[in-house]
């Protein structure tokens, strides 16, 4: 019984990690139809903000992770949108390539600033015992943040003015503009939101993985695959793809090794895209966001 609880917790944890990893990219892809390949580096920056704020400026860890990191990276994202993305609207492949150049540049800059070693923050939560099994309390925190992020995003899109304008622009930018929404500002805020979510994800996951300039490279592939697999609906897409991939990779990992878990996730993604070329929400849950 306890074993089942721990196992389920691990699956939910894997799903939550995938969600936090991809939600920033999903926001930008779902709303602006562009792929930001610097997403991994935004996460890396969030991680560094969390580490620096906690260790060097003595900011309480919860504030650095939950407030400072997303805020800083969000503002940085808005800057990137203004300088770079704005000039490449509608050109998906070119945006991918340009943001990829940005990603290489940011990794290089981070290496120059911080060196090639991993820095870490210690996990601020103790382990939890469930019967005969131990699990990390921080893992529960990750799940909690993922849930909060999804609910918060849903509320933002559903109930706020910004959310309404963003959804309208998502569906038909020209029409939304004709009705008074300012697409330039919407895109700027949207990209900033995506960056902030990436920064949050990177900061939240930092105690688990440590932070190193090449961290982005290890995140981007999974994020990219999850977002495309999910389709263009932001919340339902990310959740359904993360759910499918999370379950598959954890179950396979349990029966063999983590490497096979990875491979299973990748194979699942290939099959998924072949069968549902528009992603999960291209076929199911079409009217969701």
């Amino acid at each position: 019984m306890d074993w089942a609880a721990i196992f389920s917790l691990q699956i939910v944890g894997a799903i939550a990690t995938l969600v936090l990893l991809s939600i920033g990219l999903a926001v930008v892809f779902g709303m602006m139809k562009i792929i930001n390949l610097a997403h991994g580096e935004f996460m890396m920056l969030g991680g560094y903000v969390a580490v620096l704020a906690t260790h060097h400026w003595h900011v309480p860890i919860w504030i650095s992770i939950l407030v400072l990191a997303p805020l800083t990276v969000g503002l940085f994202g808005m800057l990137v949108e203004r300088l770079l993305i704005r000039h490449l609207y509608g050109r998906m492949i070119d945006t991918m390539l340009a943001t990829w150049g940005l990603s290489l540049g940011l990794t290089g800059a981070a290496t120059m600033l911080f060196g090639n070693t991993t820095v870490g923050i210690s996990s601020p939560l103790p382990g939890i015992t469930l019967g005969a099994y131990q699990t990390s309390g921080y893992g529960l925190f990750v799940i909690a943040v993922a849930v909060a992020v999804l609910l918060g995003l849903w509320a933002l899109l559903r109930f706020t003015q910004f959310g309404l304008c963003a959804r309208a622009t998502m569906q038909n930018a020209k029409m939304a503009a004709a009705l008074g929404a300012n697409p330039g500002r919407i895109y700027s805020l949207t990209f900033g939101l995506g960056a902030a979510l990436a920064g949050l994800g990177g900061a939240v996951l930092a105690p688990l993985t440590g932070v190193i300039p090449t961290l982005g490279a290890s995140y981007i592939a999974k994020a990219f695959i999850t977002v495309i697999g999910g389709g263009s609906a932001v919340i339902t897409g990310t959740l359904s793809a993360a759910g499918a991939f999370g379950v598959i990779s954890q179950v396979v990992t349990f029966f063999s090794t983590p490497v096979f878990g990875e491979v299973a996730l990748l194979l699942a993604a290939i099959v998924l895209i072949r069968v549902l070329p528009q992603g999960i929400t291209g076929r199911f849950f079409r009217r969701a966001f």
């Binding site: 070119d94 991918m96 390539l97 940005l102 592939a221 990219f224 990748l266 290939i270 072949r274 070329p277």
Partner: protein, 343 residues
């Protein structure tokens, strides 16, 4: 039909290149020769993507997969057989067949654009992960230990066909590699000038219209993709020969990334541009690697950004457009990437 100077240029260029390849080993010191050798190997890899992406319109994020398969196929083959002749053919055939299988899966399933990118990316990651975890003596093919993340060391290098005792010297290896590059280039140029090649370019321009004219677009893309895979595999085989070593890094994301950058900088729609860009960028990265002030990744990223934003057509086509505007006073060409088989 009168032959234009423009059409003769590539042939003349190849003759010049062949002469250089034959003569350079006597003039250069060993270190420079070895550096030049690896540049040429990578140029062959760049050529493969220049063909399938620049002309075929297939953006493959995992060209390194075929590169790696070729390298490993050669290594495993030569360690088992002892003579390098058949393993070289294996190094071309295995990736080509793998590409054909992937191509069938993707093109006949109607997958294209970014979704194709995702699948090719996933495949190269799968190969990386799998090969990375094959450490231990239980992982072997025949007498070749796969080696996991440590890779396969001490790979026997090319010998004179069917004569395993006469292994090629570095100078001869350079000439063989240079020769392979020139032959592949000429072969692809010829293919692109043929009817098949023109249809491939038309498919890149407008796949729907090509289909409505009756051309089987899926088959054309499949053939292009498989051919590109085979050439990348050959490059992999030569890579394994250059270092006498292969590791899972050949499947890495960073490797695939570099190839794409070479093609962007060199230009989509030319075969020679990416070759030039590849050699140039590799030489640049080598110089940058020697100093500590600026990170080489930062420079590469800046170059990529600059080209995508300011010179989207790449180096050679942009230079060509500039030249034609200066010398012929024709109206400026459209921003669409034309399939100029210039060089």
């Amino acid at each position: 039909m009168p032959v234009a100077f423009r059409d003769l240029l590539p042939v003349l260029g190849c003759v010049l290149a062949a002469v250089l390849v034959g003569v350079l080993p006597q003039w250069l010191d060993l270190f420079t020769l070895l550096s030049l050798t690896i540049y040429l190997v990578m140029a062959l890899l760049a050529l493969s993507l220049a063909f399938i992406w620049g002309f075929g319109g297939i953006l493959c994020f995992g060209q390194a997969a075929f590169f790696g398969l070729g390298a490993y196929a050669y290594a495993i083959g030569v360690l088992n057989i002892g003579d390098s002749t058949w393993p070289v053919l294996l190094a071309i055939a295995v990736p080509a067949l793998f590409a054909a299988a992937m191509g069938y899966f993707m093109f006949y399933g109607g997958i294209s654009d970014v979704y194709l990118g995702v699948i090719t990316l996933a495949v190269t990651l799968i190969l990386f992960n799998v090969m990375n975890s094959t450490s231990g003596s239980e992982y072997h093919i025949g007498s070749a230990l796969l080696g996991g993340f440590n890779g396969i060391p001490a790979i026997p290098t090319l010998n004179v066909p069917f004569d395993p005792q006469r292994v090629l010297e570095p100078e001869t290896l350079f000439q063989v590699i240079g020769g392979a590059l020139i032959l592949c280039y000429l072969g692809l140029r010829g293919l692109l000038a043929s009817r098949f090649g023109k249809v491939v370019v038309a498919i890149r321009e407008n796949e729907q219209r090509a289909g409505l004219l009756g051309y089987d677009t899926r088959l054309h893309k499949l053939i292009v993709f498989s051919l590109g895979g085979g050439i990348a595999g050959l490059a992999g085989c030569l890579f394994a020969n250059w270092g006498a070593f292969v590791s899972p890094g050949v499947f890495g994301l960073a490797q695939s990334a570099q190839i794409i950058i070479w093609v962007i900088v060199g230009g989509r729609g030319t075969l020679f541009g990416p070759i030039l860009a590849c050699i140039g960028l590799q030489a640049l990265m080598a110089r940058l690697g020697e100093q500590q002030t600026v990170d080489s990744g930062l420079v590469l990223g800046a170059i990529l950004l600059t080209f995508v934003m300011l010179l989207p057509r790449g180096l050679l086509p942009s230079l060509g457009a500039l030249a034609s505007r200066l010398f012929k006073r024709r109206p400026a060409p459209s921003p669409v990437v034309p399939p100029e088989s210039v060089v």
